[in-house]
């Protein structure tokens, strides 16, 4: 098999490189291991940040489709379920799993876009079934439609951990907590806020010590750590979970780069060992290029920009055409993406390779103004300098501006805002809300991505930014967004709450998770009582009347103890057993009166 350009990896970087090269008239072959083109994009159901016009506010799956369509339009050849097994001195060999045979490939140029692999974490029993990498959970859930568990514990609060947690919640899974060893969330605040307002705890300065279970995961022991990441003794507690999802970072997949003999450097900011390359993505070997996570762990948007830069540079080499205008456009795009605080790590990593990128030059001050009370208007809760501007781009009245740079904090001009909520539907961070105050009540429009949608008139429980219940509200309007799938749900609430309410939940069957059927005690009742300070089983029982009904505690005893154990970290053995009192089934006065002694 012969090709001018061999691209290894059909993710966002590889496909972008293929599009750029093919557009410029180069013959391209893409080799990819997966079942479909798109790499990790096919599992990403969330909307991407970045420039409107450069895929921002599109969901990963949609981006994959767009790239694939373009590849096919351009007639790019690609081989799926095919692994490039070796770059030998004499040839490159690809192995097709489907055909169970190898292909020798003759190439002039190589673009390596092999991406990254997930880091693993060492803790006791980490080999138990039920311990997954975040990517695996996403594959099962978003690609194959299988939820691998019911109760999830996520390790790592970077963007991947946060996004996976949100996707699990959307799929109906129960995220017990996100455990993060450092003292701050690594991912975007807007992603963290989506998690927090659902009431999912993000436990900072915590780590996992061991998985509990014999044949599969039944829970985990977590603990607090000190500033040196050492476990603080006595802070261990158990969390009940059947799935532990590791999202503790990525490392570049450098195997093929190494076989090709390109120069490697160790740069922790870029994820460890990476191929040394110039700003056109060319490695130490003239005909070998890299792009995407292989060249430094970042995200899909920058991977695509790198792919384009590599693709056009290769095309320039092969065809002799001047493509510098296109190349510079993507370099500017990249520079913008990396200009803000979240680009700092990559910037300093690239500096070690001699690539210097600009920083700063964007607005950092937050808008203090909450807008004129009474007017239906958008309020923004986007407080970090992340490179993203769909709100600005979509606003029909130019009421929203980023202050001249994509990394700026968005501000709203309330004289111009007409309350059209286009920005609410567009914002990838779900960080824009609609607000209106009336004489008797207030209304908040909440971006909502859960199924099923509530109905107008439904009573809901209002939640604040931390997921705490703050009252009850009524669904007033449901604006379906068939295209983007970010719906807007308007909830009416007590006046004054419009500044705190940012989420709601429908008191569903789950709300009535009954623990004690006789006395209709719910799981929530039990958890609330434990939070109040009832940590002794007998006290809890007497307070809630658990086991005081006709069944005598058959249903509720163990369940309650389980909740108590989970919440307090006590073992079941430590929890005093309840006194089981006669009669063991209810008997009537009459049956006693009619009783016979003999």
């Amino acid at each position: 098999m012969k090709t001018k350009l061999l691209i290894v990896g059909g993710g966002p970087a590889g496909l972008s490189g293929a599009i750029a090269a093919a557009e410029s008239g180069v013959d391209v072959l893409v080799v990819d291991e997966g079942l479909e083109l798109g790499g990790q994009l096919v599992k990403q159901t969330h909307k991407f940040f970045g420039h409107q016009g450069f895929f921002a506010s599109k969901r990963g799956v949609e981006i994959a489709k767009i790239l694939k369509n373009r590849i096919e339009e351009l007639g790019v050849k690609y081989m799926l379920q095919t692994t490039l097994v070796g770059f030998y001195e004499d040839t490159a060999v690809a192995y097709s799993r489907e055909e169970d045979k190898t292909y020798e490939i003759d190439y002039d140029y190589v673009l390596l876009a092999t991406g990254a692999s997930e880091k693993f974490l060492v803790f006791k029993n980490n080999m138990l079934p039920g311990v997954y990498g975040a990517g695996a959970v996403q594959t099962l859930m978003n690609q194959y439609g299988v939820l691998p568990g019911e109760d999830f514990l996520i390790i790592g609060a970077g963007n991947i951990g946060l996004i996976v947690a949100y996707q699990i919640a959307q799929a109906g899974g129960n995220v017990r907590a996100i455990v993060e060893i450092s003292d701050k969330v690594g991912g975007y605040e807007v992603h963290a806020n989506k998690i927090r307002r659902m009431g999912i705890p993000i436990l900072l300065r915590h780590t996992i010590i061991k998985a509990i279970g014999k044949d599969r995961v039944k829970g985990a022991v977590i603990a607090k750590v000190d500033e040196n990441f050492k476990v603080i003794e006595g802070t261990e507690r158990e969390i009940v979970a059947d799935t532990i999802c590791l999202a503790v970072g990525l490392q570049p997949s450098i195997e093929l780069a190494s076989q090709l003999g390109v120069e490697m450097v160790y740069i922790p900011e870029l994820g460890g060992h990476v191929p040394k390359r110039d700003e056109n993505m060319r490695t130490s070997k003239r005909n070998i290029f890299v792009a995407g996570d292989l060249s430094g762990i970042e995200e899909a948007t920058s991977a695509m920009a790198e792919g384009y830069i590599a693709g056009y540079t290769i095309a320039q080499d092969i065809t002799g055409k001047d493509l510098s205008e296109k190349i510079n456009k993507y370099k500017e795009e990249l520079a913008d993406l990396r200009r803000g605080p979240f680009g700092k790590k990559v910037r300093s990593g690239l500096e070690k390779m001699g690539i210097v990128l600009p920083s700063g030059g964007y607005r950092t001050d937050l808008q203090k103004d909450f807008g004129p009370a009474g007017k239906l208007r958008a309020v923004m809760e986007c407080h970090q300098n992340i490179p993203c501007n769909p709100c600005e781009a979509v606003c029909p009245t130019n009421a929203i501006n980023m202050g001249g740079n994509i990394n700026g904090i968005p501000h709203i001009n309330y004289d111009k805002c007409v309350g059209c909520m286009m920005c609410v539907m567009k914002c990838p961070g779900l960080a824009i809300f609609m607000v209106q105050e009336f004489d008797e009540y207030s209304v908040v429009g909440i971006p909502y991505e859960f199924e099923p949608l509530p109905n107008v008139g439904d009573k809901v429980i209002l939640m604040d930014r931390n997921g705490e219940d703050v009252g009850e509200g009524v669904i007033q309007r449901v604006i379906k967004n068939r295209k983007d799938k970010t719906h807007v749900v308007y909830v009416a609430m007590e006046k004054g709450l419009e500044r705190t309410v940012r989420h709601f939940r429908v008191p569903s069957d789950e709300e009535d998770e009954i623990v004690c059927r006789c006395e209709e005690v719910t799981k929530r009742d039990v958890e609330k009582a434990i939070d109040m300070g009832f940590t002794d089983f007998e006290e809890l029982r007497r307070y809630l009347r658990i086991g005081m009904g006709p069944c005598g505690g058959r249903t509720c005893r163990l369940i309650t103890m389980g909740i108590l154990a989970r919440k307090t970290g006590k073992s079941m053995e430590e929890i005093s057993n309840m006194n089981l009192r006669p009669p063991s089934i209810p008997i009537s006065f009459g049956s006693i009166l009619r009783g016979e002694k003999e």
Binding site: D536, G590, I592
Partner: protein, 380 residues
């Protein structure tokens, strides 16, 4: 060593009420030591009645003060305790008892308590579900009532804790340290603590705790059994009780009927097992007076201890022999209903040296030595 002003032994309604009232008076250096869990003793096992109709005048006063405090409980402690002033119907089945009731009512009215005397016909009219056969007369006080003892106990404990009191559960006091006639501290399963005052609120174990300080608390504990039925609709707002008939019965907020009786043949000692004999004798007696019970099912029975004093009245005060040793014991089956007033009075006595709201000097242990004893008759 951790230091407190007051260490209270017993986390029942009495101990936690004293703790709450001490904290309310501004004394936050208070700890409660409970050997098991809150409401594990007699409080969590009692019928929950709150009555002012007593035969001894001082008890009427004490109970009336308690009712005032129960009325304010939710406001004071921030806890709904299912308090209901549905009244108490005292039923006399003998001429002798009827005469006594009439005398009592005269005294109770003198104390300002609103009590009615009802003929069997009036009882039947009001409460057709009661079989009034053999009833001579009944007395009724609307401001009597009942509450959920667990919740009241938790209410005091949580409120005290909020005010700064330390409440230790699963913490057993092993000894009281007395030097030169004064309390110095306690030894417990969770360590030693210094304190100026120890309060014996140990209920069924008050005698044993008294011995730790070298003080003889003349109490004896006896088992009392009790049971509860399945839920019925809400129709029985009051507590019905008879001393010569030997029973009490009420309906809880949740609809369950709760009832019990005393057993004159019960042997002294802490025994919390239950007997079938008790169910049989209750079934026979209760279905006669309350025929609707015939088809009602019994869910659960249990037992607790009355800590009886020689005159069936509480022993409350501070020792004149051991400085700093106080006691609130021997409640003889009515500790729950008296707890608010006793807690308040003893807290006042400890902090201010004298009581302000209700005189409890008649409850001091001295009365047994002086021979000034009036036996309270209105006890099941």
């Amino acid at each position: 060593m951790k230091e407190y002003r007051v260490c209270i032994i017993g986390g029942g309604i009495i101990g936690t009420s004293i703790a709450f009232h001490l904290a309310k008076l501004g004394e936050r250096r208070v700890a409660v030591f409970e050997r098991s869990y809150i409401s594990s003793g007699a409080t969590g096992r009692c019928g929950g009645g709150i009555r002012q109709q007593w035969s001894a005048r001082m008890n009427v006063r004490l109970a009336m003060r308690s009712v005032k405090l129960f009325e304010r409980f939710e406001k004071d402690a921030g806890f709904d305790i299912e308090y209901r002033q549905g009244g108490y119907l005292l039923m006399a089945f003998t001429e002798e008892e009827a005469e006594r009731f009439e005398r009592n009512v005269k005294m109770q009215r003198e104390e300002g308590l609103d009590v009615e005397i009802l003929s069997p016909k009036m009882v039947k009219e009001r409460y057709p579900f009661i079989n009034t056969e053999n009833l001579i007369l009944a007395t009724f006080c609307q401001t009597d009532g009942h509450a959920n003892p667990h919740l009241a106990n938790f209410g005091y404990a949580f409120a005290a804790r909020r005010l700064g009191v330390d409440i230790y559960t699963h913490a057993e006091v092993k000894d009281i340290i007395v030097q030169n006639g004064s309390v110095m501290g306690i030894e417990s399963s969770i360590g030693s603590f210094k304190c100026d005052v120890v309060v014996n609120a140990a209920g069924a174990w008050s005698k044993e705790v008294g011995k730790m300080a070298g003080i003889d608390i003349p109490t004896t504990s006896y088992r009392h059994q009790i049971f509860v039925t399945e839920s019925l609709r809400d129709f029985f707002p009051f507590m019905a009780i008879s001393f010569d008939g030997n029973f009490y019965i009420r309906q809880t907020k949740h609809g369950q009927m709760i009832m019990g009786q005393g057993d004159p043949n019960e042997k002294p000692g802490v025994n919390r097992n239950v007997t079938y004999e008790f169910l049989k004798s209750m079934s026979e007696k209760m279905t006669k007076i309350f025929p609707f019970l015939e088809n009602v099912r019994i869910l659960r029975q249990w037992a607790g201890c009355y800590n009886m004093s020689p005159d069936a009245q509480p022993i409350v005060g501070c020792s004149k022999k051991v400085n700093g040793f106080c006691y609130a014991a021997g409640f003889s089956g009515h500790g729950f209903m008296l707890a608010p007033a006793v807690g308040e009075a003893l807290a006042e006595l400890i902090i201010k040296g004298s009581t302000e709201h209700v005189d409890i000097s008649f409850l001091d242990i001295d009365r047994f030595e002086k021979g000034e004893v009036e036996i309270e008759g209105n006890v099941v």
